[in-house]
Structures are given as structure tokens and as C-alpha cells.
């Protein structure tokens, strides 16, 4: 296949998508009068919240659901309004979306792409959801994003950190608010250099699947650009529960930094094991041995307990941020549930508001209209400073937090401290960056 044919096929394909709708009264036709998939006809509009309710990420899923409920409450005019008051766009009235009361349905992704697609389909086919959002892994996000593209609804991805979500698997109907592996690397590397010097030898342990690889690639590139050497990169099975046999050789490898490209249960266990093996007490090459966890989440950090103390990583948002928006969100979430929100909660809350706002600004629920309103949208007041939804790949660009495990936590939630807020400009990359190459956004699909 030559390059030109590939492009031609791509063009044909987008044409076909549009054409198919006309040629056959096919895809999920509810009534032929509807202008787009699941057009809300009554006084309500239904959103689909697709989060892991069972399986290892159930706690993150539960926190996402809490935030969704809070967002719906705020959209419908209840509660204290949360970040609606600080949001730079003032389109939202507190009377639902476009005057329709917001309802929601929930589904269980089980953190499996099949199950996630099944529950998303059920929300679209059965409950008439106009938008799907949520999730706690990149595999699920990409799978559901593809489905929403085919079905013709908007997908607002939840926790998904892989470059692919807005890289080779990007879709016109999908938007990501979360940051990604490249941004983690770009944000972390300067801080690492500042804290640990530029003459470091790094040893990577990487979860052996797509996200792990992109994470490793990103942080490796970012640290090597600053002068670090990479001693070894070792892949660990996703199903591994004990990392002792991967940690044990690290001390003898000549490395003086261990980078754990792990998430969730893998991260908790590998970090626990690394600390157990006394890595943090050692001096290697005349330097203090350090451990880095590129992607942090407070919920998971809690599982790792004392072991996170002093360990650097990046995160999307943290409740201790002192801007007005974050404070407003923490206040309204904390008042309702009694504890501060996680970054997962923050992300999905923002996305619900952003979707609603885009509908208001577009004046329609039509996915193509909404997508247009979101593309290139610049805003402020949702807790991460000035933020841009880039039109080219539907990735969101905003400040990234570099955090460190707190040495003296004052409460069970006070586990991380913000070391640096890396400005958006420093983590921005061109849409055709090699780590994000391949794949096409395509054209938006309205379904009907």
C-alpha cells in the first residue's frame, strides 16, 4: 500500500460514513424525524455515566459517580453550583441543559473493553443516552470512544492517560480532559533534573501493555533529553502481583533512579516492594537512590501508604490547589460527601460541565454541533488554569501538576504535595508529534 492510497481510502471512508446515513435508514434509527442519534424529545436529557463499579478500579469508579451526581445536581440548579460559578463561560443557567432537566443512567465497565462497550451500548440503545462519559483505563476509553463514534454520540473520556486516546485512536466524537503520558514526561523531566541532577542513570519497570509502553517511551525521551541515561527497561506482566524478582536486580544494575511505569494495583505493589528492598536508603554512584512514579493518583497513593513519602510523580489535579475553582469544587464535593474529591472526580465533573456548556453554546444536542463548540474552546476557572480543547486532536491542554508524597501528612487525604505547576505551554506538543502519529480524527458522526 502506498501512502497516497491510504489517504484516498481515508477520504472515501469519511464520505462513506456520511453517505451510509442517507442510503440506509440504518444505524439506530429511532424515528426518521430525528435529526441525530437519541435526540431528546421530552423535558429531559439523559447522560450515560460508564464507570468501573466492580473490579480493582471500583473505588475510582465510585468517586467518579459521586462527582457526576454532583455535576448533575449543579446543572439542574441544585447545591451551591460548585465550579459553575468560577467557570469562565457563563452559558450554563442552572436550569439543566438547553432548558431540559438532566437525568443520568449508570453502567459498569468492569475495566474490560467488552463489558464497557456493552454497558455503553445499553445506555445508548435502551436508555437513549445522548452522551457517554467515564472510565478508568485507556483500553476502555479507546474502546468506548470507538463505539461512540460509530453510534453517533459524544464521548467525554474519563481517566485515560495513554497517548493513543488522542493519538492514533483519536475520534471526532471523543474528547479527553485528562492529561497524557507525554505530558507527564514533559512536566516531570525538568523537575527531576532540578531535584536529582542531570547525571542520572534510570532503570524502568514498565507494565507490559499499551499504556505502559507509551508511558515508558514518553518519560524515557523526556529524561534522556535532559542528559539522563537509561540503564534498562524491563516489562512486567500486568497480572503480576509481586515485583520482588523485578526489583531485586535494580541495585546491582548501576542505576540510581527507578522509574515505575505502573498504575493502580501494579503501582501500589511495585512501589511497596521497591521500598521494602531498601532502595530508598541506598547510595549508588555517590547519589541517593530515588524512585519516580510518573502517574500518581491519590486513591492509589493511599494504598501504597507510607511508601509514597518523598516520591515524585505527576497528576492531573489535586484538591489542595488554592485557586478559586478548585476551592469551590472541593467545598461543594467535601460538604456533600465528607472527604475531598480525587483527580478522577475532578476530571469527570469538569467534563460534564464542559459538555453541558458546549450544548448551550451550540444551542443543540447534536453531537456535531457540540463537537464544534468544544473544538478549539478556550476557558478558565475549572481548576487547571487556562485550558484549551485543541481542535486537531481533541486533547485538552492545561497545566500539569508535579507532586511529591508528603512526609508529614496531616490527615488521611493529605498524601501528596504539589511541587510545581508545570505551565500548559511546556507540555504542549504539535498534533503530528511522532508519539501521537497514525490515526485520523475523521468527521463527526451524528448517528441518524
Amino acid at each position: 500500500m502506498t501512502k497516497t492510497t491510504v489517504t484516498r481510502r481515508g477520504v472515501l471512508k469519511s464520505g462513506a460514513t456520511a453517505g451510509a446515513g442517507l442510503a440506509l435508514p440504518t444505524i439506530f434509527t429511532a424515528s426518521s424525524a430525528a435529526a441525530y442519534m437519541n435526540e431528546p424529545t421530552g423535558g429531559t436529557v439523559t447522560l450515560g455515566f460508564n464507570v468501573p463499579q466492580t473490579g480493582p478500579y471500583a473505588d475510582e469508579g465510585a468517586d467518579e459517580l459521586r462527582a457526576y451526581e454532583l455535576a448533575v445536581e449543579h446543572l439542574n440548579g441544585g447545591g451551591d453550583g460548585g465550579m459553575m460559578n468560577t467557570f469562565s463561560s457563563k452559558a450554563l443557567q442552572g436550569n439543566g441543559i438547553l432548558g431540559k432537566k438532566v437525568q443520568f443512567v449508570t453502567g459498569d465497565t468492569q475495566t474490560k473493553s467488552d463489558a464497557a462497550r456493552a454497558s455503553a451500548k445499553s445506555m445508548i440503545e435502551k436508555d437513549g443516552a445522548i452522551m457517554i462519559t467515564g472510565g478508568s483505563s485507556s483500553g476502555v476509553a479507546i474502546a468506548v470512544q470507538g463505539l461512540c463514534q460509530e453510534a453517533g454520540v459524544i464521548f467525554m473520556a474519563g481517566l485515560t492517560h495513554s497517548n493513543d486516546t488522542t493519538g492514533k485512536d483519536k475520534k471526532a466524537n471523543g474528547f479527553r480532559h485528562f492529561f497524557n503520558a507525554y505530558m507527564s514526561g514533559a512536566a516531570l523531566a525538568p523537575v527531576l533534573a532540578a531535584q536529582y541532577g542531570t547525571d542520572r542513570k534510570a532503570y524502568h519497570l514498565t507494565a507490559d501493555y499499551t499504556w505502559g509502553w507509551t508511558q515508558e517511551e514518553s518519560i524515557k525521551a523526556a529524561t534522556e533529553a535532559l542528559g539522563w541515561q537509561t540503564v534498562n527497561t524491563v516489562k512486567t506482566p500486568l497480572a503480576a502481583t509481586d515485583f520482588s524478582s523485578y526489583i531485586a536486580p535494580v541495585l546491582n544494575s548501576g542505576a540510581d533512579v527507578l522509574i515505575l511505569n505502573h498504575y493502580g494495583g501494579n503501582m501500589v505493589n511495585s512501589l511497596t516492594n521497591a521500598v521494602q528492598f531498601g532502595l530508598r536508603d541506598k547510595m549508588v554512584n555517590g547519589k541517593h537512590f530515588e524512585i519516580v512514579v510518573p502517574l500518581y493518583s491519590r486513591l492509589m497513593a493511599k494504598g501504597a501508604g507510607e511508601n509514597v513519602k518523598g516520591i515524585l510523580g505527576s497528576t492531573n489535579w489535586h484538591w489542595s490547589l488554592q485557586d478559586d475553582a478548585s476551592k469551590a469544587f472541593v467545598k461543594s464535593f467535601g460538604t456533600k460527601y465528607g472527604f475531598p474529591p480525587s483527580q478522577a472526580a475532578h476530571t469527570v465533573y469538569c467534563q460534564t460541565l464542559l459538555y453541558a456548556d458546549a450544548c448551550e453554546r451550540a444551542g443543540t444536542f447534536n453531537p456535531c454541533g457540540v463537537a464544534q463548540a468544544l473544538e478549539g474552546f478556550e476557558f478558565d476557572g475549572l481548576g487547571n488554569g487556562k485550558t484549551l480543547y485543541r481542535a486537531a486532536d481533541h486533547q485538552c491542554f492545561k497545566d500539569v501538576l508535579v507532586v511529591r508524597g508528603k512526609e508529614n501528612p496531616t490527615s488521611e487525604f493529605d498524601l501528596l504535595e504539589v511541587v510545581e505547576v508545570t505551565p500548559a505551554g511546556q507540555v504542549t506538543y504539535p498534533p503530528d508529534h511522532p508519539m501521537f502519529s497514525g490515526g485520523m480524527l475523521g468527521t463527526c458522526n451524528a448517528g441518524a
Binding site: 480493582p56 524491563v234 512486567t236 509481586d242 541495585l251 541506598k282
Partner: protein, 343 residues
């Protein structure tokens, strides 16, 4: 050489957990003829005994400290464990610190009780049922147990740290003449290994040297004959079920400091423990122990850079590959008896 020794150590350590779980599993199978898919859940419950005890020790009363504020800006509620106010902060903190070893004592009666209740309440009715039914009902039970634990403790892992005194690592290499940092090993992992060895030895001694054990062994060999002698073998088997549950539970309690327990850790170990039992030979106690350590060591070696560069992905499949090779070359596992579980 030092890398080699290090992986042997790692293997023995992983193997300890495998062997303990497989020991109980094969004990239940050998005595009762029951395929127990809930055995992993017992391991998990053991670990949560430690979590529970830690929670009990840290039960706290709240006092309001007006000088500090919480995340919402309200006056901070400071929690003080009751135990610290009863015994004084030092002893109280020490008790909390030692909660995992104390949980060993706490868990034995609990696990025996759970095992006893499980056998009398459920398993007993399934002795004569097909293995498939046993699998379904114990699998159902495993799901119920883990969901109940999840309901109370959440899905995230929970730290159950070892006592501070046993938390660090020792430089074993230096002790035997290698250079510094060559063989660093965590103290708690050594404790776990010796603990496992002790438990295994105790189970074997119990079966070997007590009358009770003798009858059980005879029952494992030929249940009907022993029954004909007028010995109430069923009651003894019930107790054996309790013991098997306790062994799995102990494996779980002590495992907590190695890797923080979560509600699905039992399922993570379930497949593996069945592989261990089968590789060792169904119903063979020494086989289970041998296979546990063997697979632990092989798994450790397969995860070295040398192995994964020679055969990509070997660390993912080694356990299963070994199981296939052993089952094809030794039909009944390493030490299995003929005719067990072949129908």
C-alpha cells in the same frame, strides 16, 4: 552468582506463599475430595484479618483541635486511637505497630471457625456431588466472600505494614562475603519464608506424629476402609478443613506487609494455586510444597532480563508452560497418586 542467589531467594519467597495455599487446597482435596474454588478467598480473608485487627486497634475517638483546619476550612478533628489513651501513647503505638504479627494469633481461631462453618454448612452437602457442582458452589461462595469484603473495605489495596523493627532490609551478601549491595533482602520476606517453613513443618508433623493425623492419612488413602473400622472420619475431616482454612489464612495474614491486601487477591492466586496443586500431583502434600517452591523459583528466573531477552514474554507464560510440560511428561504431576481425580 549474586544475581542467581538473589533470584533463588525471591523464588523461595514467592514459593512460600504458593506452597502454603496449595498445601491447604490439596489437603481439602485429599481428605474430602472437594475441589475448593473458595480457597483463594480464604487466603484473602486471612489478609483481611490483619486489616481488621489494625482497624480495631486504631478505633479512635475524635477531639476538635481549633488551631488547625481540615480541607474544608472547618476546625480539624483529631483522631486518637482508644488503645493509645488506654495504654499510653508509647505502648499503644507499639501495639498498633505489631498488629500484623498479633493478627496471626487473632486469625487462627477465626479461620478455624470459618473453615468449620464452611464445611458443616455447605461443603458437607457436596461430597457426593460431581466436581463441576463443587466448583460452581465454591466459586459462588468465593464471589460472595470477596464482594462482602469489598463492601466493607473497598476495592483499593490497604496497607498493612510490618512492625517497624522488621521493615527494613538486610545485606545478606555482605554476610557471606559478597560486596555491599549485592544481595539486599527485605527482612519481612525472610520472616515470611521461615514462617511458611514452620507452618508446613507443623502440618506435616501433625499428620505424621499424632493419632489424629494417622487416621486422616489413612482416610486419604482409603476412606471406606477407615470408615469400616468405626472411626468417625467425617468429624476428623471437618477439622482438617478448618486446619486447611487456617493455613490459607495464615499465609494471607503474613502476606499483607509484602503486598497490600485487596479484595481480589484471592482470585489472583486461585488459578496459580490450582496449577501448583496439579503440578505437584492432586492429593499429594509433599508434591504441593515441592511444586510451590519449584514454580516460585522458575517464575523468578523467568523474570530476569536474561530470560526475557532470550525468549520474549517468557515471564508471562512460564508457570503455564511448566504446567503443560510437567503434565505431559509426568501424567499425575510430580508426586501424584494414580487414579486420583481422573474421572
Amino acid at each position: 552468582m549474586d544475581a542467581f542467589l538473589l533470584q533463588i531467594l525471591n523464588g523461595l519467597d514467592k514459593g512460600s506463599a504458593y506452597a502454603l495455599i496449595a498445601l491447604g487446597l490439596t489437603l481439602i482435596f485429599g481428605t474430602l475430595g472437594v475441589v475448593n474454588f473458595a480457597h483463594g478467598a480464604l487466603f484473602m480473608i486471612g489478609a483481611f484479618c490483619a486489616v481488621t485487627l489494625q482497624r480495631l486497634f486504631t478505633l479512635s475517638f475524635e477531639t476538635i483541635d481549633p488551631t488547625r483546619t481540615d480541607f474544608l476550612g472547618n476546625p480539624m478533628k483529631v483522631k486518637t486511637p482508644y488503645i493509645e489513651s488506654w495504654f499510653g501513647p508509647d505502648i499503644g503505638a507499639a501495639i498498633i505497630d505489631w498488629s500484623v504479627p498479633l493478627a496471626v494469633l487473632f486469625s487462627i481461631p477465626i479461620m478455624l471457625g470459618i473453615g468449620y462453618a464452611m464445611e458443616r454448612g455447605l461443603i458437607k452437602h457436596f461430597y457426593k456431588r460431581p466436581h463441576a457442582d463443587q466448583i460452581l458452589v465454591t466459586f459462588g461462595l468465593a464471589i460472595v466472600l470477596q464482594e462482602v469484603v469489598k463492601y466493607f473495605f473497598g476495592a483499593n489495596p490497604i496497607q498493612t505494614p510490618a512492625p517497624a523493627a522488621l521493615r527494613g532490609s538486610v545485606d545478606l551478601g555482605q554476610m557471606i562475603g559478597f560486596q555491599a549491595n549485592a544481595i539486599i533482602y527485605p527482612i519481612w520476606r525472610l520472616v515470611y519464608f521461615f514462617f511458611a517453613a514452620g507452618v508446613i513443618a507443623a502440618v506435616f508433623a501433625f499428620l505424621q506424629f499424632t493419632t489424629f493425623g494417622m487416621v486422616v492419612r489413612a482416610g486419604m488413602a482409603d476412606r471406606e476402609t477407615v470408615g469400616l473400622l468405626g472411626i468417625n472420619i467425617d468429624r476428623r475431616f471437618t477439622i482438617m478443613f478448618g486446619i486447611a482454612a487456617a493455613v490459607a489464612g495464615l499465609a494471607g495474614v503474613m502476606y499483607g506487609p509484602l503486598n497490600p491486601p485487596n479484595y481480589h487477591m484471592g482470585m489472583d492466586f486461585l488459578v496459580l494455586s490450582f496449577v501448583v496443586v496439579v503440578v505437584g500431583g492432586m492429593g499429594s502434600l509433599p508434591g504441593a510444597v515441592l511444586a510451590g517452591f519449584l514454580l516460585g523459583v522458575l517464575e523468578s528466573f523467568a523474570s530476569t532480563t536474561w530470560a526475557t531477552t532470550t525468549i520474549p514474554g517468557i515471564n508471562q507464560i512460564i508457570i503455564y508452560l511448566v504446567a503443560i510440560i510437567i503434565l505431559l511428561t509426568r501424567p499425575r504431576g510430580l508426586m501424584g497418586r494414580k487414579g486420583v481425580m481422573e474421572d
